[in-house]
């Protein structure tokens, strides 16, 4: 591998990592707060991509989709949490099973609504060209994905550390029953958390749609990636999602081109290694048993 190629591959890896971060952030948030591994996360992501498809087909406005899809899917989360998940609060395994059911229903409804063809959307205008990097063309959209991922991480960190809702989330992650005892409306907080997590999955679907395509089965493909990221990085923390995505994105990219035979196993090998050495993940916290 020449130095030029290595630099371009590093950019590829970082942009994939940035996308994985956008995808995994919502999963991590929901888990941290509600102790639920939301296996419908991939379905929310898929729904985000299909909403983008419709918006782009109808209006040609990718940026409209970027606003509309997270709101719609966040709204869906706002309905699903009180209607379904809340009924099983405290029964974590049952909640996880429920999210599998939700994901199957969403995936099938998508199939009925949008059909089962594979689809693709063009890159948004303004970001559909390439610029010269290391003597070759490099797609601007990938740089945009990196910038967007970093920007989102900063925004989430500020919200997490500096705002009241951030403080409530941090407190809820530590000890939700105590927070409830202090008079905080925990039902509302959980619903909001779930909605934001779902909205983030939808956002990832919008960002990924021009690059990775839109097809039946994409929900499962990316659910697995996002699970690996949060497990490696540490469940339930924002910095964990950053660390996990920052490691898995480049590792997956370089693994594919350097050891292609081992590429699929590589990220799982990393996951296994991290779990052996540090079972809570790279930046995971020891959870208080309750």
């Amino acid at each position: 591998m020449t130095p030029e190629t290595a630099v371009v591959q590093a950019l590829n890896g970082i942009s994939f990592g940035a996308l994985l971060f956008i995808l995994a952030a919502g999963l991590s948030l929901i888990f941290g707060m509600m102790d639920v591994v939301n296996l419908a996360h991939g379905a929310f992501y898929m729904l985000g991509a299909y909403v983008t498809l419709t918006v782009v087909q109808r209006t040609g406005q990718f940026w409209l989709a970027l606003i509309l899809a997270p709101l719609l899917i966040g709204g869906l989360g706002l309905v699903i949490e009180p209607l379904l998940l809340r009924q099983l609060r405290g029964r974590h395994l049952d909640q996880v099973l429920l999210t599998i059911g939700v994901s199957l229903v969403i995936a099938d409804l998508i199939g009925l609504t949008w059909g089962r063809e594979i689809r693709s959307i063009p890159f948004p205008s303004g970001l559909d060209h390439a610029i010269a990097i290391m003597g070759g063309d490099y797609p601007v959209y990938r740089l945009f994905v990196i910038g967007f991922g970093v920007g989102l991480a900063v925004v989430l960190a500020v919200v997490h550390q500096r705002t009241r809702i951030g403080a409530l989330i941090r407190a809820g992650v530590d000890d939700a029953p105590m927070l409830a005892a202090l008079g905080v409306d925990i039902d509302r907080l959980f619903a909001i958390t779930f909605a934001v997590g779902a909205g983030l999955a939808g956002l990832a679907g919008v960002i990924a749609a021009p690059v990775f395509g839109i097809y039946p089965g994409m929900d499962v493909d990316y659910l697995i990636y996002s699970l690996v990221v949060v497990v490696v990085g540490g469940l339930g923390t924002l910095s964990g999602a950053v660390a996990g995505a920052g490691l898995i994105g480049p590792a997956d990219t370089f693994g594919k081109v350097l050891v292609p035979q081992f590429a699929l196993a590589l990220i799982f090998a990393i996951m296994a290694l991290v779990l052996l050495v540090k079972p809570t993940g790279l930046l995971g916290r020891v959870r208080i048993a309750r």
């Binding site: 089962r116 594979i118 990938r142 395509g213 594919k256 035979q261 590429a263």
Partner: protein, 422 residues
């Protein structure tokens, strides 16, 4: 026919419900019920009609190949509609099942066709691993099976200890073998185009590897040299790393096997990295630029040269009639999968006529299938008696933008390609 459609829709919905309640045996029985019932009106019994012919179609209706299954179902339904829902004077019931792109599910559904539906013929299967997985069960049950897509070479070949699969007298294939779509273009590149060097980049699973190997043997036998190769795991989301690697080496002609989403992502990454401007040429087995891909990537695939046994633009009377009928019925252009299913039905139809609808004498029906010859939308079609793989022409196609539309144009033809069978 209206009733027939309604019936299929009902059975399909039940199948899906069963998917949600996979463990529920009761639901499973319910799902078998209506599909197996004789047609309410399509089968208006008259004295001259024979007993109902049951065809089991095992196709993907969920997951990534769902649209392939839908396309093949549309084609099958259309064929039967045009024939008044009768083949060789027997009313036809088609039982559709979802193979879900999973060998375990495919095996279970095949067993259902054999044991509880007792179908007269079986057709379908998109993915090669499923075809390999059900091969022994079909052979043991002496069930005549027309494979309408999966192209793994071993399914119609003699192999050592039948690994990973091997031909069976009961199995016919109306689609292609990966040799047929890969070897001839390799030979063609070396001998007709004068290409000296090629770099291969294929999907890293059985079929992609077979395609690369067959292309390589055709190309090197013709005097060409393979300078290197790269493989992408199936369903690799991000193709930029691979295309970056291809750009990092000097050979300009690339041979690829990808289909569906992979092909779309590959072609988009190819354009994004400015490969055409850097002098690289995309070539491959025809699925790389088939309609499902082409309608999404459009002019980005411009210039790609591929080989396949059909193109929607193919200029012959049968293809025109087929494309017109399909468009009229569904307001959609047919794709290659529709052609494969169509030809499977044609072969069955002609063979049944030859034995006067008698499916009980398997040997006679096999001999009849071996004897069918007809004009397909793809050109002349017949089964190789040795292997039961089709003997067919391969077209060298180039994607060109005509009137704002990206289409596969036929630039050359390799006549009567026969799988070597070993």
């Amino acid at each position: 026919m209206y009733e027939n459609k309604g019936l299929e829709r009902r059975s399909y919905r039940l199948t899906r419900r069963r998917f949600l309640a996979a463990s529920s045996a009761a639901a499973a029985i319910a799902a078998c019920g209506p599909a197996a019932t004789p047609l309410p009106s399509g089968a208006t019994p008259t004295a001259t009609l024979g007993p109902t012919l049951k065809i089991g179609q095992l196709l993907p209706f969920t997951k990534v190949y769902a649209e392939l299954g839908n396309s093949m179902k549309r084609s099958t339904d259309l064929y039967l509609k045009l024939k008044g829902n009768k083949l060789a004077n027997r009313p036809v019931t088609v039982i559709y099942e979802d193979e879900a792109n999973d060998p375990a599910v495919g095996t279970q559904k095949t067993q259902k066709f054999i044991d509880s539906d007792r179908v007269d013929l079986m057709m379908g299967i998109v993915a090669t691993p499923i075809a390999y997985a059900v091969r022994n069960a079909i052979d043991a049950a002496k069930l005549i099976f027309i494979e309408t897509n999966a192209g793994g070479n071993a399914l119609t070949r003699t192999t050592t200890d039948c690994k990973p699969s091997c031909k069976s007298k009961y199995i016919f294939r109306s689609s292609f073998s990966s040799y047929q779509i890969s070897y001839p273009i390799g030979d063609y590149f070396a001998t007709k185009r004068g290409v000296k060097e090629v770099f291969t980049f294929v999907s890293d699973y059985g079929f992609g590897n077979e395609s690369a190997a067959d292309f390589t043997s055709g190309f090197t036998k013709g005097g060409g040299k393979i300078t290197g190769g790269l493989k992408a795991p199936l369903g690799s989301a991000d193709f930029l790393p691979f295309v970056t690697t291809i750009k990092g080496q000097q050979t300009k002609d690339i041979y690829s096997f990808f289909s569906g989403t992979d092909a779309i992502n590959y072609i988009k990454a190819w354009t994004q990295l400015g490969m055409p401007a850097a002098g690289y040429k995309m070539n491959g087995a025809g699925f790389l630029t088939e309609q499902d891909v082409l309608k999404e990537v459009k002019e980005q695939a411009n210039g790609a040269t591929t080989s396949l046994f059909w193109a929607v633009t193919l200029d012959n009377a049968e293809n025109k009639a087929f494309v017109d009928a399909y468009q009229k019925e569904y307001n959609l252009l047919p794709d290659v999968f529709a052609v494969q299913a169509w030809d499977g039905m044609q072969a069955v139809d002609l063979a049944l006529q030859a034995v006067r609808g008698d499916t009980s004498n398997k040997d006679a029906l096999i001999a009849a299938l071996e004897g069918v010859k007809f004009k397909s939308p793809r050109g002349d079609f017949e089964f190789d008696k040795e292997t039961h793989n089709p003997i067919q022409d391969m077209y060298i196609r180039e994607v060109k933008v005509q009137g704002g539309q990206a289409v596969n144009t036929i630039v050359d033809k390799v006549a009567r390609v026969i799988d070597p069978g070993k």
